[in-house]
Symmetry: C2
Subunit: 396 residues, 2 copies
Amino acid sequence: MRSTTRAETFPAHTPAVSQIFTTVLSHGPLTRLEAARRAGLSPAAVTKAVRPLLAAGYLAEDADGEARPALGRPANLVRVDGGRALFIGVKVTGDEVIAVLTDLCCRIRLARRLPVTDRAARAVLTSIAELTRELRSEAEDFGAPVLGLGIAISGDVDRAEGAVRYSPFLDWRDVALAELAAMTTGLPVVVDNDVRALTVAEQWFGAGVGLSDFAVVTVGAGIGCGLVIHGRVVSGAHGVAGEIGHVAIDPAGPLCHCGNRGCVEAIAGDAAIVTRMREVTGRQVVDSTEAVALAHEGVPGAREVYARAGEAIGRGIATVANLFGPERVIISGEGLAAYDLFAEQILDSFTAAAFGSAARCDVQTRPLPFEEWARGAAAAAIQSFITSSPTPTGKG
Amino acid sequence: MRSTTRAETFPAHTPAVSQIFTTVLSHGPLTRLEAARRAGLSPAAVTKAVRPLLAAGYLAEDADGEARPALGRPANLVRVDGGRALFIGVKVTGDEVIAVLTDLCCRIRLARRLPVTDRAARAVLTSIAELTRELRSEAEDFGAPVLGLGIAISGDVDRAEGAVRYSPFLDWRDVALAELAAMTTGLPVVVDNDVRALTVAEQWFGAGVGLSDFAVVTVGAGIGCGLVIHGRVVSGAHGVAGEIGHVAIDPAGPLCHCGNRGCVEAIAGDAAIVTRMREVTGRQVVDSTEAVALAHEGVPGAREVYARAGEAIGRGIATVANLFGPERVIISGEGLAAYDLFAEQILDSFTAAAFGSAARCDVQTRPLPFEEWARGAAAAAIQSFITSSPTPTGKG
DNA sequence: GTGGCTTATTTTCCGCTGTCAATAAAAGAA
DNA sequence: TTCTTTTATTGACAGCGGAAAATAAGCCAC
């Protein structure tokens, strides 16, 4: 019953083509001249690069309807035709599988969820397949093919191999997820760490557009960090990087599940906040929603719990800034539901702990609906599609 | 009286030429085939790249005298002719100006020092000029031209502009040092942050050869860190990065001159150690040499001071490892005179605080004679010489 | 010694990319 | 209408790096 779409490939025959496409993708509609300037190429190269992309339908041309300088030949805006192709992004947590259908511009078209009852890889894979099938069938209404599937999972993930090395939340070890999912769905599959996937989405479609050095910090159950340095996402020599959650900031702090004391996550992670909220208020608190509620109600001591968490996060971010000097830090995560509770502390303690010019780093916050994680997975799939060489052409 | 050597340039006409040269420079004598494999080029490209470099004398060919596999045509080793060109590297501290003369392979040929009595830029510049003149005149015996001058200074240095933005130790602000030194010496000048320069030296000539992700941590008066990520030295968006010294690891720690508490430098920097040694032993201790001596003598409490410092350094390194997952961390610095005193703690606390795969990072130590800082400056000059395009040829 | 074998290096094209300079196109201005 | 101004396109071209084939240079067996 599965549609056996022959894997459609992207006509990125040359570096210039990829570069122009990603430039237009990130920087919205552009004139060819402008695209040339941004990509550091000659206008002639842009014309040549754009042609096959127009022909294949990935780019479209707008007659520039806007008010324009009224002199000279009017510019033709080139933009990515988002409706040309669709992608599916899936985020797997210990409780849920969240899937979104996005277009080529990574705009979410549809979203679906499925609870996880059995964390075994086989069961999760079935859920992924189920959601994928559902979204694909609905996608038919959009009249565009689904060209890739991205899966985001927290933990140690080897994107190149498409394997989950170790995922604590799911208790997986060495699962060749990409291969399995590709067999089940018939789609090209990318598997990546969730924070890295989110970082890719920010780099291409979010607050990281145009920056060569920035960080994404996610606050929630865990505290994670994705880094972009020299314009590329950092993966670390052993596939692990950005473990801001286990940066130890206080030797006298609470014990962390990693065995150390005073990790950022042990102070500001959801579980830590809930535990502490229980201790401080003496009430039954089972999840972070309740903890937030207590703080908002003004229960004595509750706000201090968040203040302390915010301080820890701010110091963690300052550490990142001191070490890498990013241009911007984007704070995001489910934990942002409580953002008003610790925003001030994050900024204050960041400012206090940032050294010298590191304090010039722009600290932003972005709400992160849970679908955003899945969107990150879709972004990874889009990235993979775009950079997949159709035929190992040229220099090889 | 200054020799008006017309600035000799490096014949790096194409990317392949640069790549092959740096490959041979870092990986010692190589056969063309081997060089091709390492650089990811075809053997034919190597032949073509090597020819102009041989002609210009930067590369030389050895008949391979070694025992060889005894089958097939013998390979011809290609190596960099270190004697072809000389460079001068200068490190400026608050007390001294240290200068070295190196060859193209960054081997130190001569070293000179001059005390700093007046920290004003003009006075220091005079010392630099003096040492440069001396070394150049002695260099004549080597029969090779001096092709560049590198200057390393701690603090906020803008290499691209050749300007010292702010140097706390010298109390300089916005000094256009490269321009001044170039005028005085008539040499092409590179000015860079001292730790970054040292990192370049490690990347090309030291323990970082062949690694795309590693860190250099220097222990001494300050605690510094140079990062190489994706094969490039990290400078940060604002020109400052690697401030491991001001990573705060203990909110209850001693006050740091940066205004925070518990910075690594406030615990493990020379000044911090001396201060604490005084407190703990109750003796007069004026510098770190004396502090080391006390610890070696077994004065009660003295060793604990170093243990505590080692622990702080280890935790700082673990933070770096957690955040970007380097393949190796190279610990170096004048402070290594005391290395036996805290080696164990560094490794122990690193191992304890490193999260997951980050612990697989290889932590090495290298002695760092003080001239090594100056050598780093020379490495920066060499790098600049090699990558300086002779004529803005080709694309552009 | 000579022919054969193996491996290293060089040569000889060749495709391909992106630049340059000239040209077309699309308006408004004169 | 014609000129001006700005954007887009075209075609010639230079040059980089690859592939394959040719050549070089030893060693070995006979």
